[in-house]
Structure formats: C-alpha cells, structure tokens
Symmetry: C2
Subunit: 477 residues, 2 copies
C-alpha cells in the first residue's frame, strides 16, 4: 500500500541539509558505513524480533526524487540548482546487509548496515529507522502476548487505536510475524496475506429488538463462522442464553461467543459451563477486553475458559513501551581505499558505538541446537569455530567462557549490492515460521517475561581492541 507512494520526502529535514552539505564540500562520493542497532529491549524482555525489512527494501528500491520533491526543495531557497539536478538523477547505489525478518535480535547488534556514498547512506536513515523501529516494536510485543496465551490463537484487533493508517496495516503485519493468528484489519489481509476475521459489534445487537433476534439473523447469514457477541446487555442472564437458543435452533457449523467486557475469568468459566450443559462443547469462547501479556497470563492462571484472544490497543501501540529505540550511526569511512573506523563517544558507556565494518554470528550448540551467544566481528575475520573458542562479556571483561562443540551462523544476509536488490523477500508465512523456529533455539531463561537472563552478545577480540584504541585516542584530546 504505502510503498506505491513516493515517500522520499518522509525524512528528517537534516538528511537533506547534510546531503547538500556533502555535495557542496565534495565529500558526496566518500564511502561511509552506517549501522542500525538498538540499545534496549522493550518491556525489559530477553530478546526483540527483527521486522520491517520488506518495507525498507521497497523503499530503497523505489527511492527517487520526483518533480514535486524538487519543486518543494527549490522553494526552501537553500539548495543550489546543481544539487537539485543531482537529486533529479538520483540512483541508489549503496550496499545493504541486514538480519532477516523474524529473527531474534539483541542490543548493540548491527541489524542493518548501509555502505555507500555518504550523502546516500546518510539520507536513508530516517525511513530505515521508522520502518524497523515500528515493526520490530510490534513484532516483539506480539510475540510476548502470543507466548502468554500458551498456544491459544491471538488475533490482532487494534486498527482503530493504531497511530494512523500505516501503523494499522504494518502493525497487523508485524503482529503476524510475531505469532498472531490473524487480524481484524481487512486491508492487511488483502495486501499482506494476514488472515482477517471479524463478526459483529454491539451495534449489530442494538439494531434488533433483542439479542436472540440479532443472533438468529447472524447465524442464518453466517452458518460457517458464527461468533456471537454476548455482552451487550448481560453476559450470563441474556447473552449466553440467547446464543444457546440460536445454536440449538440453527446448529451452525462453527459456533463461538465473544466477551468484550467484565471479569472475563469469572464470566468465561460460567459461560463454558452453560454451553457445555446445553451440549455445545464445541462452542469456542473468544475474549477481547484491553488485554496484554500480563492480563492474559493472569486470567489463564485463574482458570478462565478461553479458546482464543483478540488483543487491541495494548498490542497495536505496544502501550507499556511504545518506543523501539533503534539508532543509525556512522561506523567507518573509506578514504583513498583505506578503511577508517569511526566511533561516537558518550558519557553513557552504553551509548558508545562499535566502530568498523562488522557482521554478527550466532553460535549454536551442536547437540541441542540452542543458541549460546552472538559474536560481533569485523568484516574479514574468520568465522568463529573450534573447540575452546573464548567469548567474554564486553560490559564485564573478566567474565570469560570457553565454547566447545558449537557451530556459527552469520545472522545477516546481503540485501542490496551497488543499489540492486539481491535478496529474495520471503513470504510472510515463511517469516512467521522462521520467527517461531528461531525463538525455539533460545533458552527458557531468555524467554522469561520478567528479569530474563541477558543473552550474551560478545565482541571479537579484534573489534574489542579497535574500540578501545579509538576510545583512548579520543581521551587524549
């Protein structure tokens, strides 16, 4: 949907002033490396889920400056005609590497790297961050909620509370990647293959003289997908009895009730009993009232009888933590064929960046196929291997550990080569499957909602040395 639009101007204005600045200072063609990474996992979780890459690819593949864009920039009165001409003839020529969607990711890892002429590699910052931050946020939240539901399907129901149209559509997409079974949002179904379902609002019930008539009419029209909303007036006194009467009379093929308010633990237990006693053991109970992973966990513990969940605003806005703090930082320059690593120093240790052109390996145990640790290495370093390979915690370097009997997998794939997409975008179902599979390689300790074990993200000795050297050089000033 959005991709068909020209979104080139969906950028922080400073990307334009900087691009022009590089153009005016003859640095435009200097080769720069930028890493996209994040610093903190939302909700204090043990891992995040990579998402949004497909939209990044579509954006980069269609990146051009239209006459409308040029006219707008001309009007600003700060750009020379030569620069506008450059934009008119703009062709994206960068190389891009990225971690595929659905992969568990951890703080500090270069989940995307862009290499190319600095004015181009810099320019794409805003949109890359926007897409990856948004969808990774929602995929990560969805995954927490889906895990809380313990195998019961979770539907994404948040369209009306999303932050605008793209938040609704790509939020539904990201939620599906994170493990949701479907969405209420029809356009996400039409355009992204995220199955959409939906039955009735309270207004349907209110349009009829009573619940029985409203339900009966609905069951006549939709005998194959008949989920009745039973809480317009009173769930146990009128809603469920009316539903049972209609199920008795019409025997629809698929029966369900939905409860959207009240104490769902209590109500679902009572409703389940009423339905079973009436012989409708096959009637599904759907619940959908301001849910999130914490409430779902609680009501399951309370013994609520629920077959599936609809989760709205707290998923589509990631209410408890609506910001995914991805950043995009310069990590290296190429000047006259020489690689110059770059670092951003900060008072805050965690804000100091990892310099150089890097990649990430995940090390798996050969026996269990469980993920042991990730290692960020410099480009060209050998793949971690061998018995006795030593990793250490960069925040506590005295913590060292020798690894045996493991294999390493490079987490990143080449996405663009010289501006040409070389990546086969997988289907959304393949991404979802990949996500499920990869999460199954994480230890329980990492999966925990509260205070999970911090997963090891190691730096290779060469990278560690380069980083410390650059910090020391800066300290000399």
């Amino acid at each position: 949907m959005i991709e068909k639009l020209n979104l080139t101007m969906l950028t922080d204005f400073y990307e334009l002033t900087m691009a022009n600045g590089y153009f005016e200072s003859d640095m435009a063609e200097d080769i720069a490396y930028f890493d996209l990474f994040f610093r903190q996992i939302p909700d204090g979780g043990g891992y995040a889920i990579m998402a949004g890459l497909e939209q990044v690819i579509n954006y980069l593949d269609n990146l051009e400056f239209s006459e409308e864009d040029i006219a707008y920039l001309e009007k600003k009165g700060i750009f020379r005609e030569e620069f506008l001409d450059y934009l008119r003839n703009f062709h994206f020529v960068c190389d891009v590497w990225a971690v595929p969607e659905g992969t568990p990711i951890f703080p500090g890892e270069p989940i995307v790297t862009v290499r190319g002429p600095v004015m181009q590699a810099q320019f794409v910052e805003t949109m890359l961050l926007l897409q990856i931050n948004h969808q990774s946020l929602i995929a990560t939240k969805a995954n927490r909620i889906v895990r809380a539901a313990g195998g019961r399907p979770v539907m994404e129901f948040g369209t009306r509370r999303a932050h605008g149209a793209s938040a609704a559509v790509y939020g539904a997409r990201a939620a599906y990647i994170g493990g949701c079974s479907g969405t209420a949002c029809a356009i996400a179904d039409r355009d992204y293959g995220v199955t959409a379902l939906g039955t009735m609002a309270h207004s349907w019930v209110q349009m009829y003289p009573n619940e029985y008539e409203a339900f009966r009419k609905y069951a006549e029209i939709y005998p194959d997908g008949c989920t009745l909303l039973v809480d317009t007036y009173n769930v146990l006194k009128s809603g469920v009895p009316a539903a049972i009467r209609v199920f008795d009379e019409l025997q629809p093929k698929s029966k369900g009730i939905r409860i959207d308010s009240g104490d769902v633990a209590y109500l679902t237990k009572k409703a389940r009993k009423m339905l079973d006693e009436a012989g409708h053991e096959d009637c599904q109970i759907v619940v959908s009232n301001s849910l999130d992973e914490y409430i779902i966990q609680d009501i399951i513990v309370e013994g609520a009888c629920i077959d599936s969940f609809g989760v709205g605003e707290r998923l589509i806005t990631s209410k408890s933590e609506p910001v995914f703090g991805g950043v995009y930082k310069l990590s290296a320059l190429e000047k006259d064929g020489e690689m110059i690593p770059k670092i951003k120093i900060s008072e805050n240790i965690e804000k100091i960046t990892n310099p150089g052109f890097k990649t990430v390996y995940r090390l798996f145990d050969r026996d269990t196929n469980k993920a042991i640790a990730d290692v960020i290495t410099l480009d060209g370093e050998p793949v971690p291997e061998g018995d006795g390979y030593e990793i250490f915690d960069p925040r506590a370097v005295w913590k060292r550990k020798k690894l045996y009997n493991f294999y390493a997998k490079n987490l990143r794939e080449p996405i663009f080569e010289k501006g040409k997409c070389v990546y086969q975008i997988p289907s959304i179902d393949a991404v979802k499957e990949h996500c499920k599979e990869q999460i199954s390689t994480l230890w329980e300790e990492t999966l925990r909602f509260e205070n999970p074990q911090t997963y090891y993200v190691d730096l290779s000795p060469a990278l560690w040395q380069m980083k410390n050297q650059l910090i020391e050089e800066h300290n000399k000033f």
Copy 2:
C-alpha cells in the same frame, strides 16, 4: 499523501460482515445515528484537543470500493454477488456533524455524529476512530508539551520513532495544531505546510577530522540558518569552543547550538555563559534529548538557558499514554419516520452511552469570555440561554449550579449533507490559531497538568430523562 490512496479496506473486517448482514436482512436502508466520543483524557489532563477531521473528510469524500476490493471480498467466499454489486455502486449518502479541529473537547461529548443508512454509517467506524484517535492523541500531548515550554518554540522531532509513515506525517500535523512551531519531517512540510527545519546529525561531525572543521564547513554553506550540534565529543570542552571559533570567524546571520545529551540544565547554563562572554548573546540554544512536558517543566525551573526545544519519541508516540480511547456507538434509529433512541448498558457506569440524536453547546461568560460548562442537548431543544439557567453534574446530580450572564455556542458544524461535503476545511494555520484561542477560554484550573479541575459537561434535562428512562426499561429484563 495517504488520502490519495484507496483505503476503503482499512477497516475492521466485522464492518463488512455487518454491512452484508444488514443487506441480507433488508435493514440496509434503515437510518441509524452513531456518535464518536471518548471517555478519558490522556495523562490525566484537563482537556483534549480535537484533531484528524480533515483526514476523515478526505476519506469519506473518496469512499468507494475498487475492483481490487471487490475481488478480495469475492475470494473470502461469504458474500453474495448482489452485495458485491451494491458495493460496486456504493455512494456515501450520510449526514455528518463534527467539532472542528483544534477545539478543546471533553469526555462523553459527541465530537462526531454520523446519520444515514445503517450499513454505511456503521461501515465508516474504523477509519473515523483511527484518524480521530491518533491525531487527537498527538495534538493533546503536543499542547501539554508546548504549554510546559512556556512560550519557547517546540519542534516535533519524532519521525524515526513514529509508528509508521502516517504516524510520522499526521503526527507532525497534529503536533502543529497542538502548538508546535514546526517539525523535522520534510513531507509534512511539503504536503501540510508544517514548517520543517533541521541542521546536522552527529555523523556530520564525525565525517570531519574535528568539530571545528565540521562546523566551519556547515556555516559556510548555511550562513542563514547555522545551528551546530555540539555534543558529539564533549559539549563544554570541545563543542561550544569550536562553535564560538566558527561564529567569530564567519559571523553567520543566524547562530545556534544544539545539545542532544547529558545534563541539559547544567550544560546550557555553562554554554550560555561561554557564548555570552564571547559576544554571541544572539546565539540560540536548542535542546533535544528524550523530552516531555515533565522534564521541560523541571529543567526550566532549574534555570536551564534554553531558547527552543526539539521533542521526539515522547511526543510522536505520546509515550506516557499512547492510546486515545475514542469509541463509536449507536445512539438512535429512525424507523417509519419515528426516532428510536438507543443505549448501551454497562456494569461500568461511565460506559453507559448517551442515547438519541444530540449536539453540544459551550457556555461562555459574557464578561470574561471564559468557558463555564458544556451542555449536551437533544436535537431540536432550544439553545441554552437566559439568566438562571441550571446545570448539574450527571455523575452527582445533587450538584447544581445556576448560570447568569452567559452565551452559548454550538460546538459542532455540519460536515456532510446527504453524502456531500458542506464544510470548508480551514487552513492548518487557522486551525492552530483556533486551538490557541479556544484554550485561552479555559480556566487555569482546567489547564493544570496534575489533578486539574474536571470541566463541567452537563446533560440537558430532556436528555437526562431519556437516558434514565432507557436504563429503567433495560433493568426490567
């Protein structure tokens, strides 16, 4: 931008199953009234700001079912050809009333009402909620932040952390309505006239051997808008001195520094002193590090020397409260020319809806022009007027108050008549001005951030009576 797209399928799927249900049951042309209202002001504030109406109008004005939509619906296998034919020939014929953008709004008020054939009036629910919820959320948050800044300009800087493209663009638009001076987002400038500004990222500084060279180059290219980012290495030791050297050497017309990290209260005081001592009293200091209304208020109290603010993620996501809980509820039906008011009962008193076709008046004091109270009345009731007009609190009916020397203003305007837009959409600057003006009619007690006085929203006696009668009728069951 988004409006040019066909977003008809950006809807909860149940709007489609219900529309088809009404079609199949010959109720399609029954006339229904739906109210859009919200229940709680975000962040415990005293008022919210209406926003998003322009996008609602664009949506309704272009509402049609494309062949792509029809093909998608056909594939779902639950709709008959007659219904799809109806959609093919769909023309929006409803009446719509709404509170103009930029107006302060309060819980329970029908800020939008749609009247028309039930299948149409119901169908538009999702998109109306999506647009109004999103933009009202951001406009309300922006207004809080702008008020905290006490007259200093606030720029919206959140594009990269927005929930997708529309969240960035319409978020920038809503923030401008709420009082922001501009945005970092270029497309919001191009398409919505929200002034975009921006200078440099840390990477610009990192690209050069040192800050002095980076700043000097920038000042040469942009002598008219030269804001230098001084915190790449060390604000006071290297950043500010380098900026001063460049200001001395090049004397740019407009001088500024931006600080994006660290203890900004301390740093801005020190930086101000250094700049002043160097004769750059006209150099502006801009601050932009995870700000919101609370932090801004605090650092101003601490005596920070700040001329303007850039506010990012906490504004564009409304981080402290990312959900605006607007709902869309059936309030009446017309059957055979007779008006049948409808109510939704709930265990939770505040969730019981106001029945009937209604409007809202705001009562202003004739001497001070301050807003005294809002009154929701039934359509056709006389305008509140006269000395001794009695209002009461519907949550505490014994609290009564007689009003003298006031005038009433209907808050709503007709937007569509029989599907035709009859509303002249004001310019965004007019909306922003309207917002500022209308907020100035609220008492200080309502403007307070914490524990504000609850503004009176009264029901007319006729509406109150109707509501109670319907509740009693329901209780008989």
